[in-house]
């Protein structure tokens, strides 16, 4: 019953390392789903968050939308989407994107809102255009928080993308669902471990992105 034994057994079985059901393939599928979902969520959440954060208008509407989106259960959305749309990537992307939008949107909005108004004021007083103020003054300062929103979304996506397996797609969730029905704990624990590893890798990635993209003046280091 030792979880570590399962992990060990799972990873030392060479059959788990090759083929369409092998770890590399499933891992790669999982990464693909996650990146796609995060990209879509960012494409929606970032511009809206930046804009509303910059103007300060629409914050209440935004909070409402974000809370409503939070209230939608991912698993439910998935099942519903499959029933209504059928198979494919789309029904999986819907819950993942809905899941990721609130953190991206709200954090981006908050990040821009909470930028010290003084430099913004100074920039405006210098005759900077609004778009320039947003991208050259507010965004660089808001970046750590924006990244943290993206990170939070990414981790949730990575963890939740396992549901893709429930509707017969691949990804690391495959091991968990299959393990459940086959009553094969090695697979469940192995799959969960892989998800956790991917989550940690995501954390590391965002940490590195933060180091690279955030100005030392903002990091204060």
């Amino acid at each position: 019953m030792n979880v570590l034994n399962f992990v060990n057994a799972f990873f030392s079985d060479s059959a788990h390392w090759q083929g369409y059901d092998g770890i590399p393939q499933r891992f790669w599928e999982h990464v693909q789903y996650s990146v796609l979902a995060l990209a879509v969520a960012s494409a929606i959440g970032l511009p809206v968050g930046l804009l509303t954060g910059h103007t300060g208008r629409g914050g209440n509407a935004l909070a409402f939308i974000a809370n409503a989106a939070r209230a939608l259960p991912s698993f439910g959305l998935l099942v519903l989407a499959v029933l209504l749309i059928g198979f494919g990537l789309l029904p999986v992307m819907i819950p993942l994107v809905v899941l990721a939008i609130p953190p991206v949107l709200v954090t981006t909005y908050e990040a821009v809102r909470s930028v010290d108004p003084a430099p913004v004021d100074a920039a405006r007083g210098m005759g900077m255009h609004e778009s320039r103020i947003l991208f050259q003054v507010e965004l660089p300062v808001a970046l750590p928080l924006v990244l943290s929103g993206l990170r939070s979304a990414a981790i949730q996506i990575v963890s939740t993308a396992t549901i893709a397996a429930y509707v017969s797609l691949g990804g690391l969730g495959r091991y968990i669902i299959d393990g459940l029905y086959q009553r094969d704990y090695e697979k469940v624990v192995g799959g969960a471990t892989l998800v956790a590893v991917l989550a940690l890798a995501t954390l590391a990635l965002f940490w590195a992105a933060g180091r690279l993209a955030v100005s030392p003046g903002v990091r204060r280091r």
Binding site: V3, A71, L80, L83, T162, A192, V195, L200
Partner: protein, 233 residues
């Protein structure tokens, strides 16, 4: 028999019954999480070096898919509600611990110094000064944890009818009745929104001391909007 509220007999509950079940499975873990998080956060606040590792551990826990949790737990707790509720309680920790720690830390140094100087002991100071002032942050955390919990209960359907309203999703597939899935999703969303509204109300009741409305420029007013981003799945 194919109506919106016609629940298949094998779920053995009426719609209202499922709602009651769902609320129990969703809210008890949050309550338990809060009870656990309070002392944990206090310890993290006390020994600051402990906070980063605790955050790390909770983040990893939080990355583990709920289904995997359920499956592993079945062996210990059987196919019961408990199996669903334990992971949910753990997930709520991930949101609540940072919310409480940050909330408690957000108490201005001056206020703390004033309390200390008045002869407040550590316990009294925590209970009478830090905790009340952290209340908005804690409730913000509870809001996220509750929404998340309500959503996650549904995954319990996969381990054998333990998903309350989520069982409707399984039934929708089994009998090819999409309206059941719609019912499930909408009901869960409505419950989440309702709980959220109740928590906001609670916050308003608990914090008559917070500036309202027009004074959004003050930093204190900003805090409430800053919901921690935690384990919403």
């Amino acid at each position: 028999m194919s109506g919106f509220f016609d629940i298949p007999s094998d779920l053995q509950h009426s719609w209202a019954g499922l709602i009651g079940l769902h609320m129990r499975e969703a809210l008890l873990p949050v309550a338990a999480g809060l009870l656990l998080a309070l002392p944990l956060a206090q310890v993290c606040g006390r020994f600051r070096w402990l906070y980063p590792p605790v955050l790390g551990v909770t983040t990893v826990l939080y990355a583990i898919p709920s289904l995997a949790f359920f499956v592993v737990l079945i062996d210990y707790t059987g196919q019961t509600e408990l199996t669903v509720m334990i992971p949910l309680a753990l997930y709520s920790l991930v949101v609540l611990v940072p919310a409480i720690v940050d909330g408690v830390r957000s108490v201005p140094d001056e206020t703390l110094a004033a309390a200390t100087a008045m002869g407040f002991g550590p316990v009294r100071r925590y209970l009478q000064v830090q905790l009340p002032i952290a209340a908005p942050a804690i409730i913000a955390g509870l809001r996220v944890a509750t929404a998340s919990s309500i959503s996650l209960v549904s995954v319990g359907a996969l381990i054998g009818n333990q998903g309350a309203l989520g069982n409707l999703l399984a039934a929708a597939q089994k009998y090819d009745r999409p309206e059941l899935a719609v019912n499930s999703v909408l009901t869960m969303a409505a419950l989440a929104v309702l709980c959220d509204a109740l928590l906001v109300l609670l916050r308003v009741l608990l914090t008559p001391w917070m500036p309202r409305g027009g004074s959004r420029r003050k930093p204190a007013a900003r805090r409430e909007e800053l919901t921690p981003e935690g384990a919403v799945r």
